[in-house]
Amino acid sequence: MNPHIHNEEMFMNRRVAYYQGCSLEGLAHEFDTSTREVCAALGIELVEIPDWNCCGSTPAHSLDPVLSAALSARNLAIAVREGADVVMTPCPGCLKSLKESLEVYHNPHQRQKLLDILGMPFDGEVKAVSVLQLLYEQVGPEAIRERVVRPLSGHSLVPYYGCLLSRPAHFARFDDPENPVSMDRLMEAVGASVPDFPYKTECCGATYGVTRNEIVGKLSGRILDMALGVGAEAVAVACPLCQQNLDLRQGQLNRQWKRNFDIPVVYITQIIGLALGIDPKKLGLHKLFVDAGVLLEKRESENSRAV
């Protein structure tokens, strides 16, 4: 059914360099802990890149693409030095920076400038993937299904992918740019029901929460409204910024929309972790701003809930 190889054996004890990025040290701490827990449970060894630095994110891009590339190249170069050929990061923003850094390195017009600014040896011989891509392509929904001990049957979740995980297609090389399904399949594999969600890739307002709060209010509010409209009790995400806009800022959205949204916004790694039987505390479920306890309710079958 799934075209990807999910050779669990091959991935057992596989070592992957891990770049958590700044958000996961702060507001998105539970994305870090749940990623580590789930990977450990699935036999993937994460080796944190020693002394990693910030990728520079959107601000560095606005200054210069090669500066941004150099900041990420330092992390990649350290990973290579430590013997890694794959770097995994949960954050799609960091992933974009890492991949763009490799693009700049492989662009003959820009390589020298990059190396001059970087000031350390770097050979570009490394790949960057997201945790979602790793779980979907390398482990695979089938292998995860076999490990489920606490299915999420009877729970209805919508997957919200955001802007960057699958597009632009030539750059992401993962899933479908218009209708990504990786999270859908992973959530189905753990027993949840996953309604069609038309706003899978509509932008949440990105970094404008700080500078243009009403934009996030409008765009993120629309996403929650649609989630409720299709009968979801929670939104699954794989991006710390999307999560922050939909969860931490949900009170602001309520004020702007004069609504009472009370909908948990949960990381895909937390959802899979719950199904694998990992302690919710270890997954940082209690660290989410909107209480996600509803996902712990045991329900009979997936068709028992009328929406």
Binding site: C54, H61, S62, D64, P65, R74, C163, Y208
Partner: protein, 203 residues
């Protein structure tokens, strides 16, 4: 907001600008045939002064001043919807990014507070090697004269044990500072020969 005047458009056409945008973005802006798919896909059209398809057209017409002073360039979230849907395979988001970089260089940034937020962010990267989002907020909000911005979030963040005021410092922060310094030096070298710019034509 400036408008392009059709009668004088040839006079205000800056051909070198077209070349520079195409070179920086490595995109052929001339391929755009104004179908409007990009603007229809853009979630930010409602706050833009020029929808992104108009930005593309204004580049084709060499309207440097209007483009580089537009709000659109700094409200673009780099979400890639336009790039995904352009039937001519133009990486429109990449063009917008090139424009942001150019507007910094030309000192024509329209949304100074967005630039200020980005600069505070980069200052933290340069100093510590990492950033901590909530630590940046008070600094930015004070500088942007919005001292109460996002105040409602502080107690929540505190309650979840997620409030720190300083990011962790990395050992290699000297290396990071050097990366910034080497970049700034390169920028200076690049600027020198281009000091004598053609007068900018505001209409």
């Amino acid at each position: 907001m400036e408008r392009a005047h059709t009668l004088t458009i040839q006079k205000t056409c800056d051909k070198d600008f077209i070349r520079r945008v195409e070179e920086a973005s490595e995109q052929e802006v001339s391929k755009c045939y104004q179908c409007g798919n990009c603007s229809a896909s853009c979630n930010y059209t409602y706050v833009y002064d020029y929808p992104v398809n108009q930005i593309m057209r204004l580049i084709q017409l060499g309207q440097k001043d209007i483009v580089l002073r537009s709000r659109s360039v700094w409200l673009c979230a780099a979400c890639q919807a336009c790039t995904t849907r352009c039937p001519c395979n133009i990486d429109v988001a990449c063009v917008m990014e090139a424009l942001r970089v150019m507007s910094r260089e030309e000192n024509t940034v329209s949304l100074k507070d967005v630039q200020m937020f980005y600069d505070e962010f980069l200052k933290s990267v340069k100093t510590f090697g990492r950033v901590f989002e909530t630590g940046l907020l008070p600094v930015y909000n004070l500088k942007a004269m919005k001292p109460f911005g996002d105040m409602d979030l502080a107690p929540k963040v505190l309650q979840k044990g997620k409030l720190h005021f300083l990011p962790s410092r990395i050992k290699g922060r000297k290396h990071i500072a050097e990366i910034f310094e080497r970049f700034e030096e390169q920028g200076k070298k690049k600027q020198e020969p281009r000091e004598v710019n053609e007068p900018s034509h505001s209409q």
